[in-house]
């Protein structure tokens, strides 16, 4: 019990460190979202507003549907046969399900659990998105590549090896390359699906720092099952529970210090999940 108390305390202090003053207008508004895979119901009546700036952490035990939730936001779930979403999601006031999915994904970028650079050079990885969207001029591409790598805090490490294969850099660098690649199409939202689960603590800390820095300009939604990470990185949290329910959400500090739902209390104290 003593150990538990200090654990909670350290979480609180890091949560305090997190508090920032960011404008908080909503960019994505989810209302009554249900998600089915075949006959199985994965998400139960989720309602959640996501702020246009700052980091929103989606936490919860494994199998609670947090990754599925993330994949509905950019409609990547549509690639899985048998997956179906019902409910209302508005993105900047528009019905997200009626926006062309290709156009939507330019606005809502994604970083995956495992670093997944293309088997191309570092430069070509970043230039891929802009090229697909019709940018041909070399000087413009060069600019975008540099800017994206700088925003992902990778420029200084790779600026002399842009022509090298993306596989030649470390796992943490590859993940930041994937962040830069997603940023190159200038999205307004960046979804991160457990982006540091395959990385060591140092690389993981770099990803977190990058996420916080980026969130001053865009919305970052990060899925994590790591409580400390959620406390360190996020401004807002949403806690999902097994069965696909959203049990509590709000500013990180508040949820960590005074959780309302007893299930969230248990979860935060490590008694569950």
């Amino acid at each position: 019990m003593v150990i538990m108390a200090t654990e909670t305390k350290s979480l609180q202090t890091t949560a305090e460190w997190v508090a920032r003053n960011l404008p908080s207008e909503t960019i994505i508004d989810v209302e009554g979202l249900n998600f089915y895979y075949g006959r199985e119901r994965i998400l139960h009546d989720i309602s959640l507003s996501i702020s246009g700036k700052g980091v929103t952490a989606i936490m919860g035990p494994s199998g609670c549907g947090k990754s599925t939730f993330l994949r509905t936001l950019n409609r990547m779930y549509e690639l899985t046969p048998g997956a179906r979403a019902e409910g209302r999601i508005s993105f900047l006031g528009e019905d997200l399900f009626r926006i062309d999915s290709v156009a939507l994904r330019r606005e809502i970028g994604m970083v995956f659990q495992q670093p997944n650079p293309f088997p191309k050079s570092i430069y070509e990885n970043i230039a891929y998105g802009p090229r697909v969207h019709g940018i041909r001029r070399r000087s413009q591409l060069n600019e975008i590549v540099e800017e994206s790598l700088r925003r992902a805090a990778l420029w200084d490490e790779v600026k002399d090896s842009l022509r090298k294969s993306a596989f030649s850099i470390s796992g943490g660098q590859q993940q930041r390359l994937c962040i830069a690649r997603a940023l190159a199409v200038r999205p307004q939202v960046l979804l991160m699906d457990e982006p540091s689960s395959s990385l060591d603590p140092k690389a993981s800390a770099q990803i977190e720092a990058t996420a916080r820095e980026l969130s001053e300009e865009l919305a970052v939604v990060i899925v994590t099952h790591n409580l400390q990470q959620a406390a360190r990185v996020s401004d807002y949290v949403a806690v999902f529970m097994t069965g696909g329910e959203l049990v509590e959400d709000g500013p990180t500090k508040k949820v960590f210090e005074q959780p309302e739902d007893p299930r969230v209390q248990d979860y935060l104290e490590g008694r569950f999940g």
């Binding site: 950019n74 990547m76 690639l79 046969p81 290709v102 156009a103 939507l104 994904r105 330019r106 970028g109 994604m110 995956f112 495992q114 997944n116 650079p117 293309f118 088997p119 191309k120 891929y128 998105g129 090229r131 697909v132 969207h133 994937c178 690649r181 997603a182 199409v185």
Partner: protein
């Protein structure tokens, strides 16, 4: 091992020793059986090589290597000449023309199966291609002889419908399953994380296929094309039936040609055992063997390179 078991107790030691020696025997036996079976194919290959080369080499006691690559193949004339160039050219012409059709069609079919087609269409296309692979070559030849040759003869008003073009068309259908199914393997072997990354960035499926999946599968696709080429060069019966078989050097697809395979099959039966002509046919066989081996190795190298790049 024995020092370790001695320390524990005697009962235990005896038990482990007897059971482990039994399983040791079994392992040896299993491995032995596989080793014997495996080496049979290796020995067979070695013997084939040995005998083909042994029967081929005596040709070069009588004829120079340069004249073996000469243009005139008149083995029954006096004096005879054993120039294989016309048949090499015939094989090359027919194969290139066949690939000109089979490569685009086969690769498109592979892309359709691997990237585009929904469930049922995918299964249907795949099974059609598998059926094509299972048709005996004599049936293809018969089809070419009975339908395609007369059609080409009237369309182009030729003296004979048995031409390089006829053979190329038939061969393109025969090489299609090889190219399509191996190319499909190459495309499906591309990790889906690449596709996801591309789609998540707002690329369309079409853009993803052209800019990510196909470049990532390139070595494998090249391997598929080369193996298809090997299939086309090695095919005998269908080509023998429809190519017209006149050993002439031409670039016109509308003239009869003779391929290396057809050359061997046509003359083998009427050649006295041990004659120079007989050795010349074996030399053609050596040539064919070397060409197909080189192709298989190149193809496997490309296919292996793709596996190493993405799953290393």
């Amino acid at each position: 091992m024995s020092g370790f078991t001695r320390k524990i107790d005697n009962n235990y030691k005896v038990k482990t020793l007897s059971s482990s020696s039994l399983s040791w025997l079994r392992r040896r036996l299993d491995r032995g059986i596989f080793a014997v079976l495996g080496s049979i194919s290796l020995i067979a290959l070695g013997l084939i090589f040995f005998f083909i080369f042994r029967e081929a080499i005596p040709l070069f006691y009588k004829v120079s290597v340069a004249s073996f690559f000469g243009p005139t193949w008149l083995p029954t004339f006096d004096p005879p000449s054993y120039g294989a160039l016309s048949m090499i050219a015939g094989s090359a012409l027919v194969t290139v023309a066949a690939l000109a059709v089979a490569v685009p069609v086969g690769l498109s079919a592979a892309a359709f199966i691997a990237e585009v087609a929904p469930g049922i269409m995918k299964d249907i296309t795949k099974s059609i291609i598998e059926i094509l692979a299972g048709i005996p070559s004599v049936v293809y030849g018969f089809f070419g002889l009975a339908l395609l040759a007369p059609f080409l003869q009237t369309t182009f008003s030729l003296s004979t419908g048995r031409t390089a073009l006829t053979a190329a068309i038939i061969l393109s259908i025969m090489a299609l399953p090889t190219i399509a199914s191996l190319a499909e393997d190459a495309l499906t072997a591309v990790p889906s994380s690449y596709r996801e990354a591309s789609l998540a960035m707002g690329a369309t499926r079409w853009e993803t296929m052209w800019r990510v999946t196909i470049p990532a599968a390139f070595s494998g696709l090249l391997g598929a094309v080369i193996l298809g080429m090997g299939r086309a060069i090695g095919e005998t019966m269908a080509v023998l039936m429809v190519a017209g078989n006149s050993p002439q050097i031409t670039t016109s697809l509308l003239k009869p040609v003779r391929t290396l395979t057809a050359g061997i099959a046509l003359e083998m039966g009427e050649t006295p055992f041990g004659s120079t002509h007989y050795h010349a046919l074996f030399s053609l066989g050596v040539l064919l063997l070397l060409i197909t081996l080189a192709m298989n190795w190149t193809a496997e190298w490309f296919r292996g390179r793709m596996r190493r790049r993405h799953h290393g």
